[in-house]
Symmetry: C2
Subunit: 412 residues, 2 copies
Amino acid sequence: MISLADLQRRIESSELSPDAAVAQSVQAIAAHEKTIGAFVCRDANVRAASKGPLRGIAVGIKDIIDTADFPTEMGSKIYRGHQPRGDAPVVTLLKQAGASIIGKTTTTAFAANDPTPTVNPRNSAHTPGGSSSGSAAAVGAGMVPLALGTQTGGSVIRPASYCGVAAIKPSYRLLPTVGVKCFSWTLDTVGLFAAGVEDLARGLSAMTNRPELLLGAAARAPRIGVVIQEFAGAPEADSAAALQAAMKAAERAGASVRALVLPDIVAEAWRIHPIVQDFEAHQAFAWEYRANYDAMPPLLRGRLDESVGIKPAEYDAARSVSNRARKALRSLFEDVDVLLTFSAPGAAPKGLASTGEPRFNLLWTLMGVPCVNVPVYVAAGGLPVGVQVVARFGDDAGALNVARFVEGALKG
Amino acid sequence: MISLADLQRRIESSELSPDAAVAQSVQAIAAHEKTIGAFVCRDANVRAASKGPLRGIAVGIKDIIDTADFPTEMGSKIYRGHQPRGDAPVVTLLKQAGASIIGKTTTTAFAANDPTPTVNPRNSAHTPGGSSSGSAAAVGAGMVPLALGTQTGGSVIRPASYCGVAAIKPSYRLLPTVGVKCFSWTLDTVGLFAAGVEDLARGLSAMTNRPELLLGAAARAPRIGVVIQEFAGAPEADSAAALQAAMKAAERAGASVRALVLPDIVAEAWRIHPIVQDFEAHQAFAWEYRANYDAMPPLLRGRLDESVGIKPAEYDAARSVSNRARKALRSLFEDVDVLLTFSAPGAAPKGLASTGEPRFNLLWTLMGVPCVNVPVYVAAGGLPVGVQVVARFGDDAGALNVARFVEGALKG
């Protein structure tokens, strides 16, 4: 994989020109794209900017995010050839920081569950996960040092775990979702994929102009609460082993680690995530569903068919549960700095028919809290497995710092 | 003005066909549009649907809201000829309820302050207010029974007051803002203009599929707290008189009316509204400001130039103030059903150079609470003046019910 931090250091010391750094991505894409299929379209002639902290950094943008220089097709024939007039704010933020937009990455149709042809860069017989399939695969295959994805259920953390890359789903609205195709306005969150945790911190700090997100001295003795989300079902052996490995490594490195049980209202919030998501999806996709029913991606259409009867009162009740759960979760973070839990049920499922299950991600997306995937180990078939570090709302710096601590502990 | 409730009753009783009802709007627009200038584009051949509660209802849509059948130009040359692929959800919700979209109404550029050529339907030497200038004027001139606008500062309630029409800015996200050009994602709210409060209730209920928004028996003895928002400066004599008249009428009709002082933290929230708005606007308009600086509307560009230095930490602090103020406001609503306050500083200002000031609206937009403008009386020059009824978050039914009570009390 290409390390953003490493590129930045080499560019800053003039060992590498920004153009040479971008050319490295152009070449890597030329070499691997035919096998991986991570891109919908790309610009082989993209140039580097001469200034900005992200000069020389080639970025892939999930194809539900508007771009003025590339079509934005949402993974759906309904938007074939669709050319937005402007860039989404997250794209402009990247350009302002000097990044080069190298292309659009594959997305399941409308960031739902209908898969793309993209394969897992570690084992082409397996899915890269979704919905941010191309962004996770492009970083995992060493094509780009940074890519943008989005998460409504588990569309950033899960594919990151499957592809063995670091990723952050930041606090809700830390990055604007303006110009990003909406699935659920309460849930949709723009996230970043990169080779390691430091790379994420550098990318997110540059986009948001928040220096506090740059990692300082590594956290020395973080207080870590381990949650297994029993309400979400059991993990497979691979994810159970990853969580054990991360816990033990963190403990050895000096963290205080203890098991926590989430309050009932938080478990209840996990259960109502689909009500919030699907009620809003019926509004967000109202035009597509009403005016383009036959052209809708079949899995998403089926999901909308099944949820057509959700009443406003059920949605209001679900939002009330969500608000109470957020409050309960805030209290929990008085005793621990972060929570540590599964990123996905296991390693990437075989085949491309399914992008895997988001059941260990839904809760955190609804809570709006920052989550970081840290790759832990490589299971059978060369398939990576990660864990996620979850911090309290607004503490993206804390999530990144403890994630780096865990990442370092696993290496050491 | 055309009453939506009256049209519905006549259509239900087969006294009027849906097509004849829509034709009435087509004719009214043909008669008045040349004088008023409320529309950017329109469809003179629009047909009525044969079913749905809003069949026969012609609706004007503010031109920052995406429409598949009309260009969406945002009031700015940057979007000249821009044709969205799909309808915004609020447009589809209207169509699903049977409404006929008759055209796009004028908007100040990007719903900021740069005025449109639209004139006030009561006195063409005066502004109709903004940013939803065309929607307020089209309803006020009797062209359409219903129009959509949006409010980020005071862009629904203020023009409604100036044009003598009823309007509701519902609770934050009761109506989706997907497909609506974003100014500030924390503030932007889609609202409705109509002839009277019952018309608003019928329109909003049909769009949201929430029967509880239909007015029941009129509130008998609502508890009304009157607030003058002293932190927002003094009102002009016309608005002071309107508030007095509404208070007295409500009291005569049986309401309990008393003066309230808003807590300090709420006043503080009023002060930080521009920080939230402008910090988010810099992200929302990042592409326009960076890639189309020279073509930006001058007043908005000036506003962005002035606010370019807002730091993320200032924004975070402002959001914290806002959260605390919302909590304080919730407590206040334990003692009263609604608050009653000014809709605007006075009657519509003379000339078209300014759309007036939103200083009595900013707070309520930031608080996300439902606000209804009730026309009170006609001041010198034939210029209307209204008051606004404000209820607690989520109590849109309460806001509408008490607004109708006040409306009835003023007539009685």
